[in-house]
């Protein structure tokens, strides 16, 4: 259920690299339990913003809170309360599924019994129970991505950040992946996602579109389509970003 209770608040966020303004005065809120799509052309400043919200980079100025914690002073608390997954870095290829899970469980300080219970439940849900001791490197890409996501939310974070999670994945796996996202949302996890697939933008509750370091549009996919007189998000995006 989406309430209007914000889990991410961004006020006047600015990030400069020298003279280059990567994020130019961003303002938005992400509500608890929603899927928030974060779109934009390459180089529009998406990655910079995500890094700041994940506590990996310090903004130049602004007032930002993630899961109730300040991005300037409480980055450690933020990291404890979020999950992160990207297409590039997901899991250790030379470790088995079980070893990866144990490692991340350790990183987030999960209790052993709790980790084991959730692992069993998760592998069962993914149908991977028999593959616990397989090396990640031997798995097909689609499995890896689904596993990476499940492990990213194993510690039940308040928010999970997904940076192009479905790049290059086959269409069936892509949808299975989105089903996992919906399941996570049902458990009350807020999802913050970037993607280059415009149909995926329509799976989001609300979508923001960045261009040249600014947010140029932010609304539900329906309202955006209405506003830009477009039949799908692809058209909306092209009209805005071009």
């Amino acid at each position: 259920m989406i309430t209007k209770e914000p889990v991410i608040t961004v006020k006047n966020m600015v990030k400069k690299f020298g003279h280059f303004v990567a994020n130019d005065n961003l303002n938005f809120e992400v509500y608890k339990g929603e899927i928030f799509g974060f779109l934009g052309a390459n180089g529009a400043g998406k990655t910079t913003a995500i890094r700041i919200l994940c506590g990996l980079s310090t903004p130049t100025s602004g007032e930002m809170k993630v899961a109730g914690f300040d991005v300037f002073r409480q980055t450690e608390k933020i990291k404890q309360n979020i999950g992160y997954m990207s297409q590039k870095f997901s899991l250790y290829e030379d470790l088995t599924i079980y070893q990866n899970i144990r490692f991340y469980g350790g990183v987030y300080g999960m209790k052993v019994a709790e980790r084991k219970a959730r692992t069993t439940e998760m592998l069962d849900r993914l149908g991977l129970t028999d593959y616990e001791n397989r090396k990640i490197g031997d798995l097909p890409l689609g499995w890896k991505q689904k596993l990476a996501f499940s492990i990213a939310i194993l510690h039940q974070p308040k928010i999970v950040f997904l940076d192009e999670p479905t790049g290059g994945v086959d269409p069936i796996t892509r949808r299975q992946f989105w089903n996992l996202i919906y399941e996570a949302v049902e458990k009350g996890i807020t999802v913050f996602v970037t993607t280059h697939y415009m149909d995926e933008a329509e799976y989001c509750d609300r979508v923001s579109i960045m261009a040249d370091g600014r947010i140029v549009a932010l609304d539900t996919p329906e309202k955006l389509k209405e506003q830009y007189n477009a039949s799908n998000m692809d058209e909306v995006f092209l009209k805005i970003a071009r």
């Binding site: 180089g43 890409l141 269409p171 280059h196 415009m198 996919p221 995006f237 092209l238």
Partner: protein, 305 residues
């Protein structure tokens, strides 16, 4: 013209290409559509003679890709999947280098790359490593084109590139095609398929179908329904239990439900859903997209094996 005859390639136990046969006609814009690991890159590398096939043969404009590989390389332009230019050389120096390597000059073939290169020319003294994704891709295409190739082989040129740059890139390909260049291009984005003259859907090293996009969509063998509802995820779960249902997938805000030919009507589907307290919805027949075709063929393959 590219003629591929039963090309076979394995890595250990993994089959990268399983006896693939294919013909790309002269002056055709041919798309190789499939996810990562489907075998697109292997096929292209074999055609460029960067890999040796384990079996089968292929010719490019009549030249054997193994025996005449030197000649093949002269008549083809190739853009690998990864950005492969020198990041410490400027835009102009990169182009100059590849022109000379292929025994030509920028001036000689400028007309070919003019439209593409003009967009990055203002930045010609900038180092290639400092360009944005879209500009890098334009430079790479310019470099692949500078020796006036008869055939262009492009390995996922639009992967990781935003929707705007992707659109522009396909526009450029259309214009190159108009100049008579044969183009083989691969992509994981199914929506790009419709721009191609013909496409091959590839999965696990096998071609599932080779056709024009339109014929492929029209030949969709089962019934396809577009279902709209307020609670899309919930509805999708319910439809998964519809008797004899083949698949249900979300396409944006719409669900695509596939059922065997003649098995269901909008009415019967609605009735099934209303049994489960779902009533606020619409069901109407829909035209298949390439992605629907791909999913159906993938499911058929899975069912067979």
């Amino acid at each position: 013209m590219i003629v591929v005859n039963e090309l076979h390639k394995t890595y250990g136990e993994t089959v990268a290409l399983g006896k693939v046969s294919l013909t790309v006609k002269e002056g055709e814009l041919f798309g190789l559509i499939g996810p990562d690991g489907a075998g697109k890159t292997s096929l292209m590398r074999i055609l460029m003679s960067l890999l040796l096939p384990d079996g089968g043969t292929a010719t490019m404009n009549g030249l054997d890709i193994v025996r005449d590989y030197k000649k093949v390389r002269l008549i083809t332009g190739y853009m690998p999947g990864k950005f492969s230019l020198y990041p410490d050389l400027t835009v102009e120096e990169n182009l100059q280098f590849f022109a000379t390597v292929f025994g030509t000059t920028i001036q000689e073939n400028y007309h070919l790359i003019k439209e593409i290169y003009q967009q990055i020319e203002p930045y010609k003294t900038r180092r290639a490593g400092k360009l944005s994704g879209g500009m890098k891709q334009k430079l790479a295409l310019s470099c692949a084109l500078i020796h006036k190739p008869e055939i262009l082989i492009l390995d996922e040129p639009t992967t990781g590139v935003d929707a705007v740059s992707r659109k522009e890139f396909w526009e450029m390909l259309k214009r190159l095609k108009a100049m008579g260049i044969t183009i083989l291009v691969s992509t994981p984005y199914m929506d790009e398929a419709t721009i191609c003259d013909r496409i091959a859907l590839i999965q696990d090293g096998h071609l599932m179908s080779v056709e024009t996009p339109l014929a492929m969509m029209q030949a969709f063998a089962e019934d396809l329904w577009a279902v709209r509802s307020k609670k899309i995820y919930h509805t999708s779960k319910l439809l998964g239990q519809l008797p004899s249902m083949i698949s249900v997938n979300s396409f944006g805000q719409v669900l695509h439900l596939v059922t065997p030919k003649g098995k269901h009507t909008p009415q019967s589907i609605k009735e099934f859903l209303s049994l489960h307290d779902e009533s606020e919805l619409t069901v109407e027949p829909a035209l298949a997209t390439i992605e629907d075709v791909f999913i159906l063929l993938m499911n058929n393959r899975k069912a067979k094996s």
